[in-house]
Amino acid sequence: MNWLDHLPALMLAVPLFGAFIAPLTAWGGKGLRNAWFLLVSVVFSVLAILLWSRVGAAGPLIYVMGGQGWNIALPSGISIPVRILMEIDAFSAFMVLLGAVASLAGAVFSVAYMDRFSGMEKFVALYFLMVTGMFGMEVTGDFFNFFVFLEISSVASFGLVAFWRDRGEALEAAFKYMLVSSLGAMMVLLAVAFLYSRYNVVNMATLGKVIEWGMVEKTALVLFLTALAMKCGSVPMHMWMPDAYAEAPAGVTCALIAVSQASLYGLFRVCFTIYGAFMGSPVIPWVIIILGILSMFIGVSMAVIQKEVGRLIAYHSVSQVGYMLLGFGVGLLALGDARAMADYGFTALKGGVFHIVNYTMYKGLLFLAAGALFYATGSRNLNEMGGLARRMPKTMVLFMIAAAAIAGLPPFNGFVSKLLIYESSFAVHPILAVFAMVTSVLTLASFVKIFQTAFLGPELKKFAGVKEVPGAMLVGMTVLAVAIIGLSLFPTWSLNNLVEPAAKALMDQTSYIGAVFAAAATGGGL
């Protein structure tokens, strides 16, 4: 028995175990707690890399919780999977990997950033619970567990957003986030119930196999789309996003981005894997495209007028989510039409997938840099800052890397993914590409603004005592900066090895379904 077979379960068990032990570290002092925080984060990051490489080599993995063997999806005489099943294809593994990297960076950053606050053992426990929820959403093979993990990550993140509970604004942001999120989760549950009422299963692969196109399925799809678009911060319900992202501690925001990407993952898992072949009508793809365009444009125009660093960057998150929705929407539009898929659909999917990883990395780094500015100066307001370039040169360089990447300046990774999205959406309709480019220009403008106000200009007297932030925070930021530079320097490698398998897995409905049923054939009965 190879222990690597248990990777999917370990992916959940390790952060969960970390969360449960964390409150006990309060008795061991600060050093023990920080050591535990870092140890568990490093362990799950290593596991995520192993899982990703294993999926890349062996194709979709399944794991049966509590079964006689990890691959016995269908015990003898049963035609649908009855146990708790986890299924990881290349897209899931990709999301797990980047979620783990973002969480690791957030954890390393938080060790120094949150050092002066009490109640940190609870912070660590909540952080790991949030990470567990995120991994769970990405590796699970059935919808009910998707709901459960969605709620785990949401409830933990409400607590983390409101961690500075002596700030009224943080509580307000957490409450808003909570309302949107709870309503979204209930909608997901309703959609699961609708599908269950029709097919008596909640397993994703089985549903993908048996699903037909009818009224119940349409209702479920609309509920899924509404709920998950709400959760990932698309436009009509985006208002929780700037509040929660700006008010949460910076390390948390970095992981929170990956968590909201998990909702996006759920949305595309539903659209591509469950409904896939039945998405013949172009209504849903166009809805996603229009949501994407609106998110891009409204997000960026709200960002330009912000004065707080955190809120400004958070509004850019809304606009960046728009890019991904646009990319995936175009890909969805081409699904089921082989020629369109080869023409522009696959490019759009690649762009969307690549933009997910780029967005998570550079947005995480931007939030960490904003956190570092706040840590050093104690101010959130851009108008009060200035001349920090000499005081905080390392933070400035890291911020510059992230800002260049998000604005899509040519050598950086943001440029590649944006180019793929422009190219493919131009093939659908030129106006889409125009919107995307205008958004990109406005993004550049507002990051030039932050950079210029915060770092350039004459040194201010009140910041004379400002020092560079502690080493752990710089290390946390460097993790993400290295990822960005790596993705930028080796775009071909990352496109071929990271992005393309994930995009292919998303298109390939049959192998996702086949993994469960083929394993049953080879794994045999009980």
Binding site: H6, F17, F20, P23, A26, G67, G119
Partner: protein, 164 residues
Amino acid sequence: MNPLSVVARTVCNLFAWFLAIFGIYVIVHGHLTPGGGFQGGAVVATFMAFLLVAHGGEKMQSWVRKDRFTLMECFGLTLFISAGLLGMSKTFFFNFLAKAGGVFGGVLPIGPNAGALNTSGTIALMNLSVGIEVVGGLSMILLYMFSAAHPQEPMGREESGHDR
């Protein structure tokens, strides 16, 4: 929150124990009857709610210590995840205690029967651990909510260090 009258306090003192015992019954019979760890744990936690209402919060806070409940919660959850990890020779959460003899591993005859308490392997163990966790967690929620609802009381020392 002020203490209730002496009659109410005496009745609560008496019946709280019945609640606790019923809750424990629900927890340990989780694998045989409807209910289980969460439901039983919630019933046991009403023990705390009863005493909190009857005796008022000040007295209650001097009787119990919140970190004990944290400990209980962590212990229950760790037991739960360990039960899962110990089944790792086959799969995560594999029921390795079933039919193995001992406290949890009794074997039942096939067919309708009354059931036996010492069966079901890790299921009973997990009910127990979830029960412990829920008792700790819900009691802590009740106590914290009480102390947050009365701002004139000093907050617990371990929570007061937020300097922003």
